[in-house]
Symmetry: C2
Subunit: 363 residues, 2 copies
């Protein structure tokens, strides 16, 4: 049940360990550090602290009288310069040194925030990611993107900083809300399109097990997603080119989130819909088979992700997509698919082509 | 007169160009970027802007209608999270993208601040360092250490981020105050002790030319210091070991600055005195020849650096040195010298040994 991956060709080596017993993995690894006189600094949020704090921190704390914990408010607002600064000052106040280890225990916000704090405190400490949401397990905890938001846009300040250790435990997923599970499933479905192997078939045959939170099924799916992501990251760590394929579906997703409001549509739903739009454009421009889109829509519905939505005016979505491209500085191009497992990136898509493709998801 | 060095074994490649005509080097390099549709973002301070702004920014601005300039207040207080945040927000407001280039025009504060902004905005932009002080030219602009201070201590937040281009122009040195020149000379004398070649003799025979601001002499000395620094940095970019030798003299220097107040003693004077203390300890513990310390003291006096000072109580200096070690997390050891060009690091020095060595600089 336990699996492991190593990233060795990135700026910093990274080890990813998956399995149903994060606490014991952490206990073992923490014991090594603490025996060497090193200290652990956990950054988490109030929700995760309530659900998992005693178990995870207990696993560290039995070993480490010197470990310290910082609990920040849950939610995107904690991914800010102000919260990072509070964490830096906390690190100073508890006397963190260069041989300290930061442990990010939580979802994507915590991983990005604590990862940025670890990347920059004393010019970089050891970092362990312990992702507790499906989205963080398949996406944000792996690949080294860390950072915070500015009022002007998301993720404008940050670094590429691989975690020394990522511990991916499916048992955390048992406490996720339906919406949080769906947020991760949007990314999982994206990987199924990018993958050359049979991940799509695995999802199709495993829908019930996934929705029933089978640890075995979730662990196997997460492992495949992480393997795929690490391949892409190793090929292009700092996103000068091919790493862009991981943004498949995301231009439309960000436009939907922006135009509808982040509270109104979940990230997973937005990414799923964005994938359908990307496929519709791909049919016109890259010869992607229409059957793939039909098949994907059916899978999404079975996973609880919408395949159609009442949309705002097309003009607003076009404008939001343009702004997202501009702010994210990912170039002007879309990621499209020639077919399953054959992404192409930086493709020019006209407003008219985008508008036509949006119709396939309009309810 | 023009010289160039390349760092290729660091996380990011770096090119260092020295010569008496920074403006033309910058013009040429900027032209290439601007022709490719890329933009330049200059961060500088009010003093440097007044002295060199029109010349340097003119060299860029003739080419680049799209370049933008941010002027921050001069002095150490600008090396803060608040100023970094203001710079990040400025980058967003002027629409910087991932293909933008940050130009740090100024002394060490500007280099550290703008370097940190470049390292973190959109997870890292191209960075050019244009150091305008002797201290920045021989020390902070080279080697990739960037960052800001927290109230709890200096340089607590930052990154290792090599500049893509460093342009070192001796003509900037003509407008330095005596104190600013001395701040750099403290580091220059340090390199003379670390060097295996004849830098010490060059300084001894060139004292008058240096104090007379001979561009040729200063350029030659800066070049030797930078060559030595890059060798050390390539061997240990992220300071896990041997890079510590660059801290020769600095534990005592920081203790003096701390105990006397940063306004009361210049960094160059403090480093020079710190070198004499390190040599005195080295005589006891590593067999360094006393003649070297006598020779160094004579050179320092001729360069306008004090070799003795009325000192505060020894206990205060011991306490300040202990605190510096603790905050800087450099381990508990001193850097000492077995002889010229033969540094050893991470050596335990007792408070008594330190106290005895302090007597050699007490006036």
């Amino acid at each position: 049940m336990t699996w492991a991956l190593e990233l060795r060709e990135t700026q910093r080596d990274s080890q990813i360990v998956g399995g149903p017993d994060a606490a014991s993995i952490l206990s073992e690894r923490a014991a090594g550090l603490v025996a060497a006189g090193r200290r652990l600094f956990v950054i988490t949020d109030r929700n995760v602290m309530g659900l998992w704090g005693s178990e995870v921190i207990g696993a560290l704390g039995d070993l480490a009288g010197s470990s310290a914990v910082r609990v920040v408010p849950p939610g995107e607002t904690s991914k800010s310069v102000a919260t990072a600064e509070a964490c830096w000052q906390w690190m100073a106040s508890v006397g963190a040194r260069r041989d300290g280890t930061v442990i990010a225990l939580g979802g994507g916000v915590i991983g990005d925030l604590a990862g940025f704090v670890a990347a920059t405190y004393l010019r970089g400490l050891e970092l362990w990611q312990v992702p507790t949401t499906l989205l963080a397990q398949v996406d944000s905890s792996v690949g080294g993107k860390v950072g915070v938001n500015l009022p002007a846009g998301k993720n404008l300040v940050g670094a590429f900083y691989q975690a020394d250790l990522v511990v991916i435990d499916p048992s955390f997923l048992s406490t996720l809300s339906e919406r949080e599970l769906a947020n991760g499933l949007g990314e999982v479905v994206k990987y199924a399109l990018l993958a050359e192997d049979d991940l799509l078939e695995v999802l199709e045959s495993g829908t019930e097990a996934i929705c029933g939170r089978s640890e075995e099924m979730l662990s196997s799916v997460v492992r495949r997603c992480v393997e795929l992501k690490t391949e892409v990251v190793v090929a292009d760590e700092t996103e000068h080119g091919p790493r862009a394929v991981l943004n498949l579906g995301h231009t439309t997703a960000h436009a939907l989130e922006n135009a509808l409001g982040y509270g109104e549509i979940g990230h997973g739903a937005a990414v799923g819909l964005g994938l359908l739009v990307a496929l519709a454009v791909s049919e016109r421009k890259c010869g992607a088979p229409q059957a793939l889109r039909t098949r994907l829509a059916r899978l999404m519905e079975r996973l609880g992700l919408p395949s159609r939505l009442p949309l705002p005016a097309t003009e607003r979505l076009i404008e939001a997509a343009r702004r997202d491209k501009k702010i994210s500085s990912r170039g002007s191009g879309f990621v499209l698919l020639e077919d399953r497992g054959r992404p192409v990136f930086d493709i020019d898509v006209t407003p008219l082509e985008f508008a036509e493709a949006l119709e396939v998801i309009r309810a």
